[in-house]
Amino acid sequence: MSNAPDDRPNDGPDDRPDDRLLRLNAALDGELDAANLISFERDLRSDPALAARYRELEALRAAVRRHAVPERAPAALVDRVMALASPTVAVLPARSPRRPYFAPPALALAASLGVLGFVAGSGLTILRTPHASDGVAAGLVSDFARAEIAGQPFDVASSDRHTVKPWLAQRTTVSADVVDLAPQGFPLAGGRVAVVGKIPAPTLVYRHNEHMVAVTELPLDALGAETGAQIETHDGYHVARWADQNLAYVAVSDMDEKTLAEFVATFRQATKPAGEGPAK
């Protein structure tokens, strides 16, 4: 629409009705340059049908502007968004409240713990050979056990995902899926940050009766990210891993295997992107 009329061949695009409509809209929106505007106004004077169409478009736009006015963002939303970058939080260093379990010596130790850990669960489906991702699982199990013993299973205690999500977002690089599964019997209890391969990873803590499950969300290419939903046992805790199109998940729990499998299915259903087949 920026070409001067003289640049166009005689059968140029503006001679076609489609382009005349585009030009009509562009004129209405103030998007025509001076040269095009002059020729458009000339056409408008000489073509009553075009002029009528233009008036119609003007009336439509007036109606849209009158009846579809911009809405104010709700105050609660504004508060939550502002809290993401509040000056008091922003100057704090990234918080990693857990000990660095995954520093190389600790990693080796954690991996061997994972391998040596006795098998307490019944119906164990698979026991992996030791490799890096077992170290990740073992570390997360240590996190879980330590948090449970310390009686502090999360760093932010809230059943409101609108509170948990921004808290995690400030401290991790993964944009966490935060779903509340209270209607399905697994209310959200809070969140904490796990450190996996030196990277802070969001962890959601859910309750089920007196039991807990902690779901750590990892980038797909992270250490320990694996597909499949086998349930393993580490040090007497059950560990489930799975992945969707966006993230990998490791869930650690003191629930029995059957209940954990139920939780995993519920969680996957709630976070499943469209287009993915049934849970594997």
Binding site: N25, A63, P70, S86, P87, A90, K165, T173
Partner: protein, 176 residues
Amino acid sequence: MTSALAAERFRAVVPPLLDDAYTLAKWLCRNSADAEDIVQEAAIRALKALETTAVERPKPWFLSIVRNAALTWMARNRRKDMSFVGDMTDLDGLETFDGEAAPDAEALLIAHEDSERLRGAIAQLPPALLETVVMRDVNGLAYRDIAEATGAPIGTVMSRLARGRAALTKILKAEP
């Protein structure tokens, strides 16, 4: 993980755009609770992006993030009817001056109390047309900003806008 620099950029750029963001999100997902989630997710994405990027033109930039967060929301909620994928890029089907009822501006003089009718008509538009019309006439973006926010060429934006308005006109005339 938020640096002071990103937080400062965020506070300068994002707050003035929240009304526009919420309005766009609500038109796209059609309910206010989900629109809040979408805007919050967009704000989180924006904050992360501001770690590495300074933004020249905040409005199309942030509305683009809102739009993409809405796309994620739609995929997750299986709103396949709202898929943005489709051949919206061509001019086929664009109405012409030929073979159509005579324009009648009077038919579009919608009474002040009848905004439901107009909003209902907009909601009937296919998503690619809807977002273009909303960005233009509700959010007030220029063509090149809509092109930036939607990732579509300007010609496609113009085509969608013309088709969207033509469809609105048709709907409103059909349901007086």
